[in-house]
Subunit: 416 residues, 2 copies
């Protein structure tokens, strides 16, 4: 006890009774518990969604930091507009514009990573028990963002060409009234699928016919290894689409810079929501990344990323062919960071994870990507951007061994 | 129309019908409309809360960027832990620790500015119609954060020593059941007041007697111009207090780095909420600021800020004495960025703002700091950190002229 301090002993306090109702949807998931296992050295992890750190253009970023601080330091270190900094909004508006689609800076809001855009969408559009329509499986982070706003979900199955759009009118006929339809048309996380143009056009037709709002999440769109770029939903139906993008995959996640592109009136709504959420995204990060963009680095850098990730995808696919037992199937993504694998139904990928980790290999069990963790029990998401080719080969071999052991074990269990 | 594009003409879409109920609390306020007036050149603005940009330690930050990228670039540019980066959490834990209070890194969460902490508090603790107890006036950003979660407010009046704590039991006896009590004990925004130790002790006694949770918002605590540091509420009652701090005022706002200090179990709840909100705060910013902290710059830099802001506060107080008419009163803050002024009741500071702007001077009308904008009609918040001494003198003179014109005008109106 200090001489100037009154003695105030610690008391108990019941925090639980103070928590908002919505926090009941925030309970630590089975998945998060499982993923703690992965925080070990020597593990070949296909679990994360991390870009290859050895590709980060560190020198160019260092030069951009120096230039921004020397020419514009006082502005870079000050508070900024909630909308985001003009040079970055302009860059994004220009890169989204097409001969038939004019995107202006006022159509763009800079966010603290694409995840913040998902949170702001929840804040703006999701009431308690609002129905969100999404593919099954779907991006885990979107579920985390919208569970907090107590969304409920109606899921649409997928095939190798993405979401089965003809299921949507069927679900609507059953009485579902989705507040929004969430889609990842390019290199879907976790499924690794891409929607062909015809399916996108059909989705837009259905959305127009049934007055649906679309959220188009496109973090990996630039990372295409093969085939031609396919038109965005935002370009097909800008009146009803909110488009999400990010610099985390084309440059680096360390700045946490994402963006919303939407009708100007909706951008103004996002601005109101973001003002209460964090006032503005860091000006310094925005100006550094705008400087990197101005230098023309991004398109060159994206070429490098595409080449390296393509090699890694190919290595993963080849190793799966070589090492995995019969009864497994997987997607063959045309880009992005992830593929989706199904294993024989007797294997539960959640239950198997500790045994895979014992073999020093990790993945995310499929159920993480199902609302309520109610599916995907014999599926898994594999990331191919982070580990190098030799590790990918070794990790896929270990997984193959793990499957074979599971199958032998379940054969024994059946025999007993 | 491109040859590979189907022709899909723009349609109308009714966005309003998709908005969540909570967005009705996000309508553009009168204040925000008024503040648009201020975005003009040549205006002496006391309206913002901007640190003095000429004091930003640009060279030191440039050196820190270089050092982080050269020694730790791959980590700095990657995704990071939701909790925040260890070096920064440790620095904050150490600087909060006292002989009778051990703060560990696990007690600290790094946020995207202090505003994000307010938003996460809303997410974790505020249900629709939850009662928040706050001083009157109070920080506008807290209202913006919690209006979204549909909080209602019960307000406690203040005097020159801050919140009138003996009013709290009286309000509780009236039946108010606050989910949390929000206080700014040091250099209150907007009031400029500081709670003496005895009042803090009494607040903690009342909180313990009535089982209240405390939010202690302390963005300016380090910026003390005179007197001795006064013990934090968090130190007096760590079991029931969530403490908020920021680097925006001691270093620069351009990184958007704030922090929550709280019991470890509550930090884990914040982590769950933050994961859905934005995954993590930018690692690059965190490591750069941790490097600046490691170099020992912050305490030296805070000395500079204190000296300059003190001069500016003194200049503002002296000019108010010299130029303002009878019937005005104001606080004399011992630190921070703001003071609070009251003018004769016949002057409505909201209505006067356009006329002040015509005289090229701006402030924030008092009503901005009242829940529902239901008070403070003859008050205003003045910032003294941004403008230099000669501008402060000139701006305060212009405000004095504006008051005199209002008083003459209302005398005419009364005479009619």
């Amino acid at each position: 006890m200090l001489h100037d301090e009154p003695h105030m002993p610690l008391r108990a306090f019941d925090w639980d009774s103070r928590m908002a109702q919505r926090t009941s949807g925030m309970k630590s998931s089975i998945i998060r518990e499982l993923l703690k296992l992965i925080q070990q050295p020597d593990i070949i992890s296909f679990a994360g969604g991390l870009p290859a750190p050895e590709l980060f253009p560190i020198k160019e970023i260092e030069a951009a930091c120096q230039r921004v601080l020397e020419t514009n330091g006082a502005r870079a270190l000050q508070y900024g507009q909630t909308e985001g900094e003009e040079p970055l909004r302009s860059y994004l508006a220009e890169s989204m514009s097409r001969p038939d689609l004019r995107v202006e800076p006022e159509n763009v809001l800079i966010t603290n990573g694409s995840q913040q855009a998902l949170d702001l969408i929840g804040k703006l559009f999701v009431d308690t028990d609002s129905c969100v329509m999404t593919s099954e499986p779907t991006y885990l982070g979107a579920l985390q963002a919208w569970n907090v706003y107590e969304a409920c979900y109606v899921t649409v199955p997928q095939d190798d060409d993405g979401i089965l759009v003809e299921e949507i009118p069927r679900l609507l006929a059953e009485g579902w009234k989705p507040r929004l339809v969430y889609v990842l048309p390019n290199f879907h996380n976790p499924a690794g699928t891409t929607m062909p143009l015809e399916r996108r056009v059909r989705l837009v037709e259905i959305a127009r016919e049934h007055d649906l709002m679309l959220i188009e999440d496109d973090p990996y769109g630039e990372l295409r290894f093969e085939g031609e770029e396919i038109t965005h939903l935002y370009r097909l139906a800008p009146e009803r689409t909110i488009y999400l993008s990010t610099f985390s995959k084309t440059l680096a996640p360390g700045f946490r810079l994402g963006a919303v592109t939407a009708p100007k009136a909706i951008v103004r709504k996002f601005v109101q929501a973001k003002q209460g959420a964090d006032l503005n995204t860091a000006v310094f990060s925005q100006l550094v990344v705008a400087e990197v963009c101005r230098s023309g680095l991004i398109p060159r850098h994206v070429q490098t990323i595409r080449r390296v990730y393509r090699e890694r995808r190919d290595a993963m696919l080849a190793a799966m062919e070589e090492y995995w037992p019969e009864g497994c199937a997987w997607t063959r993504p045309h880009g992005g960071l992830f593929l989706w694998a199904r294993v024989p139904e007797s294997i539960n990928t959640g239950e198997m994870l500790p045994r895979a980790v014992a073999r020093k290999v990790a993945y995310v069990p499929g159920m993480a990507f199902y609302p309520g963790e109610k599916g995907g029990f014999n599926a898994m998401r594999l990331n191919f951007s982070y580990a190098g080719v030799p590790e990918i080969q070794e990790g896929i071999r270990r997984l193959g061994d793990a499957f074979k052991a599971e199958l032998a074990g379940s054969a024994v269990a059946v025999g007993r």
